[in-house]
Symmetry: C2
Subunit: 235 residues, 2 copies
């Protein structure tokens, strides 16, 4: 609920499930509970769609009020076709519907992405440390589609305490050759791994990943996973 102390709520669930948080754990959290705790719920009754939103909603079989929220959350619409709207959000993410989401939200309302998911992750990390003394990393995730491939996968939209990328730049393979694939988006892989234990309809919005030796990073950011428009071959 809005204004819930998310760290306390999660630690309570950890205890109830007879789990614990250990040093080196990665706490992976669905953005949905972060957005809810941060009050990023919008009652659709109060949304007045603009003429542009009404027009686009008709073209793409969407609720005009949802379309209005998508436009407000976006800086650029990349594609709008077959009922799918892909845009770049104010936070720099490229995803469907600017992350505006009605699933697992109560009543006639929609959920927006956290304003600053890195800051949300960082706050959660600090709260867990304060309450448990444990040094962990936090990954906040959402479920994204992607070009070329069917199905969605979970990706990291907020990161604290660890580098979201494991770089092999300068390392060599078994035969001494420089590695071609040089940077792995480990935070995205962690989000994907967590999805496998969380699912979509079981009401499990957080998971603990244990045993992965992440690279510590004090001032981390999931923005390191965002390709700039200039570098992107598909924008």
């Amino acid at each position: 609920m809005p204004n819930d102390d998310l760290g306390a709520v999660i630690l309570k669930a950890v205890k109830q499930n007879r789990l614990e948080i250990l040093n080196g754990d990665i706490l992976v959290v669905a953005h949905k509970i972060v957005s809810k705790a941060e009050g990023r719920i919008v009652s659709l009754a109060g949304v007045k769609p603009s003429p542009k939103a009404i027009k686009m909603a008709k073209e793409h079989c969407k609720d005009a009020r949802i379309m209005e929220l998508i436009l407000k959350e976006s800086v650029q619409i990349l594609r709008a076709k077959n009922g799918i709207v892909v845009s770049e959000t104010k936070g720099g993410l490229v995803c469907a519907n600017a992350g505006v989401d009605q699933s697992n939200v109560e009543g006639d309302a929609a959920l927006l992405l956290p304003v600053d998911p890195d800051k949300s992750a960082s706050r959660l990390l600090d709260a867990i440390k304060k309450k448990t003394g444990k040094e962990i990393a936090v990954v906040i995730m959402d479920t994204f589609g992607r070009p070329f491939r069917e199905g969605q996968v979970n990706v990291a939209i907020g990161v604290a305490g660890m580098s979201p990328i494991r770089s092999y730049v300068g390392s060599r393979d078994m035969y001494g050759r420089k590695l071609r694939v040089s940077e792995i988006a480990v935070a995205d892989e962690i989000a994907s791994a967590a999805e496998l234990v969380m699912g979509k309809s079981e009401g499990t919005p957080a998971a603990i990943m244990r045993g992965y030796r992440f690279e510590k990073m004090a001032k981390s950011s999931a923005k390191l996973l965002q390709r700039s428009r200039k570098q992107d071959l598909f924008r």
Copy 2:
């Protein structure tokens, strides 16, 4: 090595590492050892680049013989820019360099993708079943870049014994609302999770994933994860 019995090699490694294969396990295998066992190694000395390959290699700072292999493995070049060539392979994958790879390959040679990674996965599944009696699933993976996001992640290019997609079509969320995100590319998430325990330079080309209740599927295919050109908003 070419003509190695991959199932036997993997089971030997399983034993040497004091591991075991259990019913319901997912064996995740880097495509590299599959390609090697299937003899998909090309000595570059024997590759005669075409004029087109020579021209493109110059433009994109590549070895002309590698460029020749990329063109041969591709049905369509989607982007060629900043030294990066993204194409659709004969097998329908969209990736950099048509999967032609020199890392972890000995000598002046390059490795191609398995001709039919689903068949390779299926053969491996059958071999493991024959030797151990265990019912498992097999995922063969490669490391792909993706639009919009930095860093690469592992994805499934061959699948046997399980559905690569978990569908939520028709299911409802905590509040009874139909789920917006309806199909999760679990085989890709499994590949990404496996990457985290395998890394790129440690010489660990296979992993066992245990405890994930996959949906059994007799005639599975990683092609279910390939979006058709027509459906794709970014082709």
